[in-house]
Symmetry: C2
Subunit: 232 residues, 2 copies
DNA sequence: ACCTGAACACCGTTCAAGT
DNA sequence: ACCTGAACACCGTTCAAGT
């Protein structure tokens, strides 16, 4: 009965040997397609063509598209490095990690969509999770609080970066017109005088800078909050 | 040149009058389909059938599927209520709001996927944004910090709830087998002794309860952190 | 003004058949 | 063991045509 939950990482790969095409090759090509064209740009047919293979050949290496995405997704986790908290202190390590996670997502915008859709059980994700647990243990948390503190930081970074990625995608990083944006938001915010206040600030002239400030503000707040829990 | 960014909310609706079918009717039907079958369960064809209409009739009321989703998405924001900070204090108001946002997303799991994909420019979203700004002003923030504090809280709630929704979807709230889950994660976490520690805790026996605790832990931390900024 | 069906250009996935 | 093409059951969207 229990239609149990599945993941690439819970199944043995087809083979240890590397015959004709390989899973790595496929994942690499998928990553290229994803980075260039986004999540919508990856189809099994296109990926097959890119590898000069029939679209359906890929199904020998990968059970389905979702598992392929899981594989690609884990590569993003490989780019997130956790500094050693013993060397730089837990707070600095957490801060550097947070910025690194944000950057990795900005480099691979398609990963933002996957966050809420696929489990992160790959070796790279696990490696990061393991290091993060250590980080918060070094900080002084114990028991369930280790995972709670971990989740808090991760949730903040993801929650902050997901909309940022969406925003970049919606308006395009290039050809951004501050006046047009201001006009759009002003229109949407009509009838909300308090919201309109925001328009009069220069947030729309250099949105990248403002978002970096926002990220930092929140990060400091979250870390302050976690530090307070340690004192209690 | 500037392929400018679009949203339903920036275009005038077709008509003020309500002739045969109406936009509201369509959105209501879409919401039902989404709640029952999820994001993948909504197709223009199925929605048309549900309204005993041709699939393509809908295109008279709505420019495309994304705009329809924007419309549905805004209905979720209608369910998030912001208590009056003058009555209950900003911290209590923020806390109640945070729980409300989480509940709204858990009620409409499909909205978690939309967060990172569609702008939230609808009237209901704007209404919440406006009230949230007021909340943080009452708290004592000023200038850009109002929006920064706002983003911090929102990011935390979304970042925490998106994976929660995904988790529910992946394993199903019903027919959850703690032992199977423990086995799966143990397998994925092999070679990471520190991670494995977590298995020995009873987190898998009542995941709902543990996640509620995690949410509360993080929320208190975030609010503590914001409070600290006020003192500075 | 509103609704239709046919048609276009796509999807992911299965499967019998080939080598 | 690996790869193929045909086929199935879908998509969103356009558009000429109807009323």
């Amino acid at each position: 009965m229990s239609k149990s939950f599945t993941s690439v990482w819970l199944r043995e790969p087809r083979k240890a040997t590397t015959p004709g095409r390989s899973r790595e090759e496929i994942v690499r090509a998928a990553l290229e397609l994803l980075d260039e064209e986004g999540l919508g740009g990856l189809s099994m047919r296109k990926l097959g063509a890119k590898l000069s293979a029939g679209a359906t050949s890929l199904y020998w290496y990968v059970a389905n598209k979702d598992e392929l995405l899981e594989l690609a997704y884990d590569e993003v986790w490989a780019e997130m490095i956790v500094p050693d908290p013993d060397e730089v202190g837990w707070r600095e390590a957490a801060s550097v990690l947070a910025y690194g996670m944000r950057q990795a997502m900005l480099r691979h915008p398609w990963s933002a969509d996957l966050l809420g859709r696929l489990p992160a059980l790959g070796p790279n994700a696990m490696h990061v999770a393991d290091k993060m647990r250590r980080l918060f243990k070094v900080a002084g948390f114990s028991g369930l609080d280790i995972d709670f503190a971990n989740s808090t930081l991760t949730a903040y970074v993801f929650g902050m970066t997901i909309p940022e990625v969406a925003w970049n995608a919606a308006i395009g990083v290039e050809n951004y017109d501050p006046d047009e944006m201001r006009a759009s938001v002003t229109k949407a915010a009509a009838q909300f005088p308090d919201l309109l206040e925001r328009m009069h600030m220069d947030s729309y002239d250099d949105p990248q800078a403002v978002r970096a400030m926002a990220f930092d503000f929140g990060l400091v707040s979250v870390l302050d909050g976690l530090e307070r829990r340690l004192a209690a």
